[in-house]
């Protein structure tokens, strides 16, 4: 792998990500502002008079052709926009995703305000799922063919078959309701009280991690077993290298690249809002906000959220591919 080849690969990947992001923004804009019929009526609510609906349509520039409206939307994202909210004019600086129909709050601000919650959730869960998942995978590769492996494989399978809201609910009922070991989770910002922050997030972290770790356990085990079947490992064995060293140093190394790639993707999509976990535990993050916005059909918030989530996923996928190429030099860069 020469450097210029790698640089080119990264550049192509970045361009690809930007193109994808634009395509996503177009699709999302068209789907949400065109397909569902009368946007003004939805926005205004069922009890609006025709005159009020007309006023909303004017405010939303619904009489403009679609490409022009999309152009305004893009303009808002890149240079900002001014909105007249009845009496006053509000400036929404770039990146502006519009104003909430419900509260007139800027969507960008709203998202930024929710980001720390989702970030806390994703970060802690990631640490746990890596520990549990990779640990399980290593253990079952080490104990391959023995009862331990069978038990772990069964548990992993159970993990993949359990929805996160079921395990979360059961954990919450048992730990908070019956055993009363923890209070029912309530988000405390890290800056306010790090200890309370962690205690309150423990169950959400655990629920997410238990479900996610199943994937990591499978992946770790599969890549380690593959490495263990390779010739060079046989050579190590012949030279008398111990099993512990073979497992810990050589086999695990083979699992690092795919693990990094999978983790980048997962972390990215979780950053856009762990809808179910946040809703279940009442954590005021991006996913929770989306559910609330969806209930009242607050389109700018919904579109903004979906766009931001798509943004995180695309970035994460690009980062995953690049990290994979860095971690595994055998990858052919295309």
């Amino acid at each position: 792998m020469n450097l210029s080849g790698f640089g080119g690969f990264v550049a192509r990947r970045v361009v690809g990500a930007i193109v994808t992001l634009f395509a996503i923004s177009v699709i999302i804009y068209v789907v949400f502002y065109v397909a569902p019929g009368n946007v003004a009526q939805i926005t205004c609510g069922p009890r609006c008079s025709p005159a009020q609906v007309h006023q909303v349509a004017e405010q939303l520039r619904l009489d403009d052709p679609l490409y022009l409206r999309y152009w305004h939307f893009l303009e808002g994202i890149f240079v900002g926009q001014d909105y007249s909210t009845g009496t006053s004019v509000q400036h929404c600086s770039a990146p502006c995703l519009g104003l909430s129909y419900q509260t007139d709050q800027q969507v960008t601000e709203l998202i930024l305000a929710k980001l720390p919650v989702t970030g806390s959730l994703a970060l802690g869960a990631m640490v746990l799922w890596l520990l549990i998942g990779v640990g399980t995978g290593v253990l079952s590769a080490w104990r391959r063919g023995r009862p331990t492996e069978r038990v772990l494989t069964g548990l992993t399978l159970a993990g993949t078959a359990t929805p996160v809201f079921v395990i979360g609910l059961i954990l919450m009922i048992v730990v908070c309701g019956q055993l009363e070991l923890l209070p029912f989770p309530q988000y405390v910002p890290f800056a306010d009280d790090p200890e309370q922050w962690a205690w309150n997030l423990l169950l959400p972290w655990l629920s997410l991690a238990l479900i996610e770790s199943a994937k990591y356990a499978r992946l770790t085990r599969a890549s380690m077993l593959e490495t263990l079947a390779e010739d060079h490992v046989r050579t190590f064995r012949a030279y008398g290298v111990g099993e512990r060293s073979i497992i810990g140093r050589h086999a695990l190394r083979g699992a690092v690249a795919p693990l990094i790639a999978l983790n980048a993707t997962d972390f990215g999509s979780m950053f856009g809002g762990a809808v179910l976990t946040e809703t279940l535990f009442g954590l005021p993050g991006l996913g929770h906000e989306l559910v609330e916005a969806v209930k009242v059909v607050d389109l700018p918030v919904v579109v903004g959220m979906v766009l931001v989530t798509g943004f995180f996923v695309v970035i994460a996928n690009a980062v995953a591919d690049v990290l994979y190429a860095v971690a595994d030099r055998r990858v052919v860069l295309v």
Binding site: L157, V164, V166, I173, G272, V294, K295, V306, V334
Partner: protein, 340 residues
Amino acid sequence: MSEVLLASQPAGTGTTPVPAGSGARQFWRRLRAQRAALVAAAVVALLVLVALAAPLFTAIEGQDPTTYHPSLIDSARGGVPIGSFGGISGDHWLGVEPQTGRDLFARLVYGARVSLGVALAATLVQVLIGVVVGIASALGGQWVDQLLSRLTDVIIALPLMIMSLALLAIVPSSFPRPVLVALVIGLIAWGGIAKIVRAQTLTLKQLDYVAAARLSGWGSWRIARRELLPGLAAPVITYAALLVPSNITVEAALSFLGVGVKPPTPSWGQMITAADVWYQAAPQYLLLPAGALFVTVLALTVLGDGVRTALDPRAASRLRVGTGRRREAKTTKAQPGGDS
């Protein structure tokens, strides 16, 4: 990258044109050889039976899923079912729902109907779109391929849970909800199958018998239908088999969030949400739908793994000793999941 890797996979039974009868028989033999898959298949068969014959089961019990039974509810105590274990009796085999008194058994079996029906319909939509886009992408010209491949990438990048949540919110509620949920899932999550079909079609295109058909002047459509579809069956079935449990989870999750299947139509996800606050008075109200969901997804997943092994034993045996880590990484990535 993933396309190259996928294309390099053995095509299973698809590459060598075998007589249809022997291919199917071989598939059944290989599937039967796996005990776990067999048990899972039995469970799935039972679930399908329950779903299909839901009206029959509830008729035997003498109940239906939507009738309120206020007389079975203790409104003085906030609406908990009267009687022990959440109101279990000869009339109500699994007790009744708190507050409404609707029969739990009936709601559970009708829930199976919704769950399996929505998941299968969604899978059908995914397969249809995925196969058409994949084949068109592989057989069309460079521009068609570029366009469709980009579109597929974009579709894969859309977060399924968030996108379907948002889409379901803006469609008028007059639309039949289960159909809508199936359509939304199907329309968002076809990217993985399109990628696989495209890669497989590119491989098949190189094969002699397809080249021969092309040389003898067959049109793209005829080649796709007569020569390619049989070869695509194995990978498509494998992928689709694993999409079904994933779709079941997504439907349950959407209904759990209150945007999926709406009352009075029963759905397991919806029951789990409603049961949240009643776990002390009627624990089975929560445990039954959660258990049903778990067993269904587990059985379908194990069956899906079994189908994969039966259709592509080489890939499966490679997997057992540990195979293509890249392939594994990519497949995990490509599979949609509603598990956040």
